[in-house]
């Protein structure tokens, strides 16, 4: 306990030192964290050399192999990779549900490897509690994050009204369509006062039309709020439409194949996919993923 606290203090001092360095304009060793800072200010989330493998019988199956990445303050970062590339495992590590075999995780500059309760989360299924009202679902998540009960319920109602779901705030979630449930789930993640929002393929289960609608909706809402987001998807178009930066992952054991800066300006139009540059970039990434997959087999 004591050692842990001491480490955190040291960590904070290190971060403090880092900041003065930037003020003085001295370029230090280029760590992933530094890159995050130059992108969007201070790194909200930083993963350093994360490795994880699972044991099945006697064989070890490596899932993640030396993943390093950062999410800057107010930055939308996407992990793009084929199914089974360990993206969800990475989320479980960030959430502290599991510990990595190697590497360290920092949130807001403090080491949080294996620590729970530091992120807000939006899973693939809406995961609303059927016995709580729509507003109650949001409010209870906020109280978990330490928000006062009354304030949480007021905030939930206010925001539901703002996204046009005010009249179902007191209904049970089953009255909502799949897309509407995902909006509530996103709102629940957005309102939790935590450093990083982790969105795990939130639109994968929706039909194409709803999905496009949801992307446009999320883009608008996020650009107004500018939270730090780590987003997982296997859709190249979704990644290019929404993100500031993309990490392309290989098949398991996952490594970062490439880091891509998405060049389209903010606020971004949801029909950005019509631009020639978008198509070119999409082809690039597609080729990269195909090569990455093929290279893995050798």
């Amino acid at each position: 306990m004591n050692g842990r606290a001491k480490m955190e203090i040291m960590e904070e001092e290190m971060v403090g030192a880092g900041e003065t360095d930037i003020v003085n304009g001295r370029a230090d060793v280029e760590t992933a964290e530094e890159r995050g800072r130059t992108m969007g200010g201070r790194a909200k989330l930083e993963l350093v050399d994360i490795g994880k493998s699972y044991r099945r019988g006697k064989k070890r199956h490596p899932v993640l192999d030396g993943i390093s990445l950062t999410v800057g303050d107010g930055e939308f970062v996407t992990l793009l990779g084929p199914s089974g590339s360990g993206k969800s495992t990475l989320f479980r590590l960030i959430g502290g549900v599991e510990r990595p075999d190697a590497g360290r995780i920092f949130i807001d500059g403090a080491e949080t490897t294996g620590e729970r309760g530091r992120i807000s989360y939006m899973p693939q299924q809406a995961s609303l509690f059927p016995w709580m009202s729509v507003a109650g679902n949001i409010a209870s998540a906020l109280t978990t994050a330490g928000v006062d009960r009354r304030k949480a319920s007021g905030e939930a109602k206010e925001w539901l009204r703002r996204i046009g779901l005010g009249d179902v705030a007191d209904e049970y979630p089953h009255v909502l369509s799949g897309g509407m449930q995902q909006r509530v789930s996103f709102l629940r993640a957005l309102l939790m006062p935590r450093g990083v929002m982790c969105l795990d393929e939130p639109f994968a289960a929706l039909d194409a039309l709803t999905r496009a609608e949801m992307q446009a909706w999320l883009l608008r809402l996020w650009e107004a709020e500018r939270r730090s987001v780590l987003f997982v998807t296997h859709s190249i178009e979704e990644a290019l439409t929404l993100s500031d930066r993309i990490y392309v992952l290989s098949k398991a054991p996952a490594t970062v194949l490439r880091e891509i800066e998405v060049p389209f300006a903010r606020p971004r139009r949801s029909d950005v996919w019509k631009e020639p540059a978008f198509v070119a970039l999409k082809e690039d990434v597609m080729a990269l993923l195909q090569r990455g997959g093929a290279g893995d087999d050798l």
């Binding site: 729970r116 309760g117 992120i119 994050a145």
Partner: protein, 260 residues
């Protein structure tokens, strides 16, 4: 709406037909009331004895309610303890299952030898009967919570007690109620066995008295009272379930008895 009436009409109609055939058979074959009284004769007897039957039933109802109270209290408590501490569950569950397999007829006299003729042996007997359905169905329910909801809660970092309160307890409620419905009907039977063993009042006592006197009509009158009480308890439990569990979609398939 038509459907609802139809669902009620069919069983009630069948019951009336069965009673009619019964009445007819008794007349046609001249069956003696000592062997099988007619439904009308039973009805008359109930009406004659209504004050006594009501008083005796009331006493049985009170006993059964105490049993259900004990069953709910102990059942819910131990389901939660067993769920949170698997070690306790592994240690105790074989013993509890054994207690469920001892015939009440054998257990009752033993309890009287140990605890005397007062209230204690009756309550122990009732608690043993009422406890099990609630504890075991609720225990199953606590483990049945949806994995993706569990995963969500652990990702946002909730502690064990919050998971219990926000996820596992609400998820186990439908299971609790199917246990309660079983316990509700068992409790009446168990109360009657308890009264049979040694009591000076209650419908069980009345039943013993009348059957020893070969008063078959009164025995049937007592049976009707017992059935009415059991149905009443079941109905109340089902009503409570409907009042408490309102979140299930109200479609025809999902709304009724999904967990039982």
């Amino acid at each position: 709406m038509d459907n609802k009436i139809g669902r009620l009409l069919l069983p009630v109609g069948t019951l009336i037909v069965v009673l009619g055939l019964w009445q007819l058979s008794v007349h046609v074959w001249q069956i003696k009331p000592f062997t099988l009284p007619s439904p009308l004769a039973i009805g008359e007897r109930i009406w004659e004895q209504r004050d006594r039957l009501l008083a005796q039933s009331g006493s049985t109802l009170r006993l059964a309610l105490k049993g259900i109270g004990l069953g709910i209290g102990l059942g819910v408590l131990s389901a939660i303890v067993f769920h949170l501490i698997p070690f306790v569950r592994a240690a105790l569950s074989p013993i509890i299952i054994i207690t469920q397999n001892i015939p009440l007829i054998a257990l009752g006299p033993l309890l009287i030898i140990w605890f005397g003729f007062g209230m204690t042996p009756k309550l122990v007997l009732l608690a043993l009967v009422c406890y099990f359905p609630i504890a075991w169905s609720m225990l199953a329910g606590l483990g049945q919570a949806e994995p993706h909801l569990r995963e969500y809660l652990s990702m946002i970092g909730t502690n064990r007690l919050t998971v219990l309160r926000r996820l596992e307890l609400p998820a186990s409620l439908p299971y609790f109620f199917s246990g309660l419905k079983i316990t509700a009907t068992y409790s009446i039977t168990a109360a009657i066995v308890a009264e049979w063993l040694g009591a000076s009042e209650g419908i069980g006592y009345y039943l013993v008295l009348k059957s020893k006197g070969y008063d078959t009509t009164s025995v049937f009158a007592a049976i009707v009272c017992i059935l009415a009480m059991a149905l009443l308890f079941y109905g109340v439990a089902a009503l409570l379930e409907r009042l408490v569990i309102r979140w299930r979609p109200a479609d025809r398939n999902g709304g009724r008895g999904a967990a039982s």
